[in-house]
Symmetry: C2
Subunit: 144 residues, 2 copies
C-alpha cells in the first residue's frame, strides 16, 4: 500500500513518539536500528519530517537527536503521510482515476467508498500520543 519511505516514516514517527523526549532524544542510529531501516536513508526521511518543525523536532550535537513534544504528539499519523505527500494513497480513487466521484464513479467506487473513510479514520482517529499510550513498551513491535 505504502512506499518503503512511507512505511519507514510511519514506524519512525511511532517510535519517536514513544521514546523521544526533549530530555532524551533519539539518534538516527537508534531509530533505524529500532525500525529496521537503512541509516542514511532514514536520515533523509527524518529530515523531511522535521522540515516544518511541527511533527518531529531535532537537534544536532552531543545528546542530540530526534524527539516530539506534547504538542506534536497531539497530531495524528495522517500528518506524517501529509508531509510526505502520501495521504493520497488513502484518499484517491483505487483505480487511479482523477475524476472519480459520486457523480462520476469508477467501477469500484460503489464498494470502495465504504472502505476509504475507514482507512482515513485509521490514521486520523487518534492522536499519536493516544496511539502509543495504548501500547505497553514490551509490545511495541516496529521491526521485521
Amino acid at each position: 500500500m505504502f512506499s518503503k519511505s512511507t512505511e519507514y516514516a510511519l514506524r519512525a514517527t511511532i517510535f519517536i513518539a514513544k521514546y523521544g523526549t526533549i530530555e532524551a532524544k533519539l539518534s538516527i542510529a537508534k531509530i533505524s536500528k529500532a525500525i529496521g531501516s537503512p541509516k542514511s536513508f532514514t536520515a533523509k526521511i527524518l529530515q523531511k519530517l522535521t522540515q516544518d518543525n511541527i511533527l518531529i523536532h531535532s537537534s544536532p550535537g552531543p545528546n542530540g537527536g530526534f524527539y516530539m513534544t506534547t504538542e506534536s504528539k497531539s497530531c495524528n499519523l495522517m500528518k506524517t503521510l501529509a508531509i510526505l505527500n502520501e495521504d493520497s494513497v488513502v484518499t484517491k480513487c483505487v483505480l487511479g482515476l482523477q475524476e472519480c466521484s459520486e457523480l462520476n464513479p469508477c467501477p469500484m467506487h460503489e464498494r470502495y467508498k465504504h472502505i476509504k473513510p475507514l482507512l482515513i479514520e485509521m490514521f486520523e482517529e487518534k492522536t499519536i500520543d493516544d496511539l502509543v499510550k495504548d501500547i505497553p513498551d514490551s509490545k511495541l513491535i516496529l521491526i521485521i
Copy 2:
C-alpha cells in the same frame, strides 16, 4: 495504493471483460485509448495478464486482440492482482512488517485488521462478470 501498472491492469481487465469477446477482440490501441494508458506499456502489462492463459486471452493477426471467455470472467479481480504479484498490497501489514500478526501485532494492527478483510473482499466478492454486468455501458468510466 497501487502502482500505475496495476491501475492500468485493473482498468484493462474491466474493459476487456465488458467489451472483449472471442468474436469481437480488442486491440491494444483500443484498450489503451479506453483506459488512458500508454500503448506500448499497456502491451507489456497485457502480455503478463495473458501469460497463464486463464484470465485474459489473446490472438494476433487481423481481427486479433484481447478477450475473455465466460469462464475467465468467472475469476474475480484479485486474479489480476495475483498475476502481477500485487495482491500483497491488500494483504500485507500496513506498516510493512513481515511478521505482523494477531500474536505479533504492529501498532496499527488492531485497527487495520478490521479494514483489510474489506479490501480483500472488495476484489474477491464478485466475479468480474457480475462486476461489469452491474454497470450500464454508458456508465463505464475508466479514463482520466
